[in-house]
Amino acid sequence: MNNHFILQTKDLQKSFSGIIAAQNINISVKEGEIIGIIGANGAGKTVFVNMITGYLKPTSGKIHFLGNDITGIKPREATHIGVCRSFQVSQVFMTMTVKQNLMIAMSLSKKKGGQLLLPLEDEKLSKECDKILDLYKIKKQSDLIVSTLSQGMRKLLDIAMAVVGNPKVLLLDEPTSGVSVEEKFGIMDIVISALKKSGTTVLFVEHDMEIVERYVDRVIAFYQGQVICDDTPKKALKNKKVIQYVLGS
């Protein structure tokens, strides 16, 4: 395998009791690339994200990360090596406050072993946390219980929690779904600019083609579990198959 790529998949396949959800997926991602993953519902986008981040184990095929085989690792191991993700339906701690959510995420990425027995409330961490909350524009809500927040806010928190782990590769599963139209670009501006600064490789699943066009270097289109197009956004959005099967016109 080529060390030039940060992430590579080879003939990745996943089937659920005989039904194929993804097959022949061969993708190579360069460091620092921002990639949009598009496709209709059930095209296999989320299955792909789940396989990379260890939520699902591929039926066959290989995943390489920085030259190492990481096929079938556990989610937490993926996090350890620097492959993080956000979720389509935000996965946050509903009964806790926004700040507690982020504090837990931060202390897990910064503390190891016995340090985890130190109190969660910690001045230094708290200041850092406030900064991030500010950055993601959820500072005002920091003492609210998450279950009282809007979908969009939860989404932001969800992404923030994934980002604080300083991932090398970040997979965002529909980061703007459930977010109001006005907020969408604002959020993505924040997220992408922050990630670009740190040189993080980003793959995000997206339905909104305006966002895809605006932020990505490259588009990968899925249809029925297969990659039907892998190209620059300009070309990809004009690709016949993409127009037929993804854009649906």
Binding site: Y55, P75, M96
Partner: protein
Amino acid sequence: MFKGILKDQSVQTSIGVIFILLIFGSFILPEWMSNNFMYGMSRGLAVLGLMILWRTNLVSFGHALYYGFGAYAVALCQKFFGVTDIFLRLLIAVAAAGLLGFALGFILRKYREIFFAMLSLAFSMVLYGLLAKAEFLGSTDGMSISPSTFFGTELGRIALFNFIGLVVILAIIFAQAYLRSSLGHLTTAIQDNEIRVEYLGYSVEKAIHIKYVISACLAGGAGGLMAASLGQVDPDSMVLWSVSGELVFVTIMSGLGNILAPFIGAVIFEFIRTYAFEWAPQAWQMIIGGTLLAIIFFSPGGLWSLFQKLNFLRKKNNE
């Protein structure tokens, strides 16, 4: 880990309340009453253990396994090695229960909800089946425990009472330090969302395992102290499923709100039982069952939420 723990509100109140109790119990209250406080505080340790588990939404219907295991460890060490020192007793009970919890934790940490409850129940009943039938373990009679000693001198009831009080204070400090730590918060987070915890890079099973062992140690210590203060162990009142049920009942009665709640709940339970048994020997179970239903229906947050309501009312009046 314990940095600044003494500045914690709950810990300060707990220490204060227990100190006053110890002074009362040692000098003013009649002995039967300090007995009830002693039993209540001992049982409270097991309830604290259950409360800590419950914060991850794991409810063990077999925690009497550790409670009884701690108690029997004390009994057997006296029978075979003549150990009566109170420190050793406590240590043995905690260690024995902790080791058992550590071993079983490898299995139980994979279980959730009703399956966790049922497997715990099964394990506790395995121990029950063993104890109730094996003659050398005392069968259903159990075993007597002689009064505890402290470096060779016999410990009076008052001394034992104070010892238990101090153990409770230590347990509260330890438990609060755990709960406020990142790990402690993390285990509460597990109840909300296991997937996210895994994606934050921590093993949910490991976190649960640690918590389970802590809980087992607390329950074992409770059993050991209970054995020492009662002077008797037997499977029906230490290991049977209904004992586990009682522990869960006291947990729900106390509420999960605060670290002191389990002890207050357990003491109140002890008094309800004593008086119910004295005044209505034919119906004491009915009184306890009725209390349980009343708590579930009218104060699902346990007694602690009643305190909070009380506080709210007081504030209103002051305004």
